[in-house]
Amino acid sequence: MTELLSRDDFRAALEQAIVGNEAKNASFSLAWANGDLSREHFARWAENHYHYVGPFADYLAYIYSNTPDNCTDAKDFLLQNMYEEELSDVRHTDLLIRFAEACGTTAERVTDPRNMNAVTRGLQGWCYAVSMREHFAVATAALVVGLESQVPSIYRRQLPPLIEKYGFTEDEVEFFDLHITSDEVHGERGYQIVLDHATTPELQLRCLDIVRAGAQMRFSYTKALYDTYVAPDLVPA
């Protein structure tokens, strides 16, 4: 890629970079949406998901520190996103723990890093590495476009069966309800930051590559949940 893509073409390319690796189509997501999982499987999901999303404000803080002072729009977005994760309302990880406890596990088990599997550990490490080392537009492309912007499409499929099939209350599943809508806006603003600040062909290419990698990471993480916790339950005794 030697020429700078137009804003519309770059956006379309970013969206296309996720296609084929959408986490909503991973085996664990499909089993969840189809109502094939048990509360024990949800508990294992929560024990892993905490270690992926729990440090999200930390990831964003590294990107914030790498963002030049004159990129006020990007800095404000990152700071607002951090604030919403941690302080603006109920802390998001507290909502995740609330759901986990309704599934029968405990806050101690959720926060214990020994309870995540190796692929989750890899995703967490990738998030830290990208946020610390990459140009802020590239890191935003990875974490916000590649990962966070997928959330509404995943949770919009997963929330209805939690209430209708499994009988969770609205309070117990508030984690999902909150992220369906907040990540619509975070995702959209993330696209804007990337479109505004990836201003060379080289930066645009790095953004596209890392969005593709991010989608692969999230897909692998979601698939590994199925392989680790669900597939063994399907083997006849």
Partner: protein, 127 residues
């Protein structure tokens, strides 16, 4: 092709048939001017009055019901919380403020700020 009409700013945005779209996301992407702050149903800055097409909107969930209260029955919705699946027209007060200032201004008391303050006061800094 259905359309969201943002009457206050004079914009209209089409979206594909058989799709549904988050109203605030459409507004941000197309610079249609709906004011917002938190985007998580907490502050209420992005409330819009539904001029027409309420039947094409998603049902209000917990956060929207709790934030809007009686405003919901008067025809208001939160753009960040609502999905449109057909033609809809909305308006708003361009100068409107959050419904709860504490949701966006940490200089005002909030549960978390009070918690932090208690923790600071509990530390004996004379030692």
């Amino acid at each position: 092709m259905p359309t969201i009409t943002f009457a206050t700013s004079g914009f209209a945005v089409d979206f594909p048939d058989n799709d549904d779209v988050n109203m605030l996301r459409v507004s941000i992407r197309n610079e249609c001017g709906v004011p917002y702050r938190c985007a998580s149903g907490n502050c209420g800055t992005d409330r819009v009055f539904i001029e027409s097409g309420a039947e094409h909107l998603s049902a209000p969930r917990k956060r929207e019901r709790e934030r809007l209260g009686p405003l919901l029955e008067q025809g208001w919705r939160l753009a960040c919380q609502v999905y449109a699946a057909g033609d809809v027209t909305v308006s708003w007060d361009p100068e409107q403020r959050p419904l709860d200032e504490r949701a966006v201004d940490r200089s005002l008391p909030s549960a978390s700020a009070e918690r932090l303050q208690r923790r600071w006061l509990a530390v004996d800094d004379t030692e």
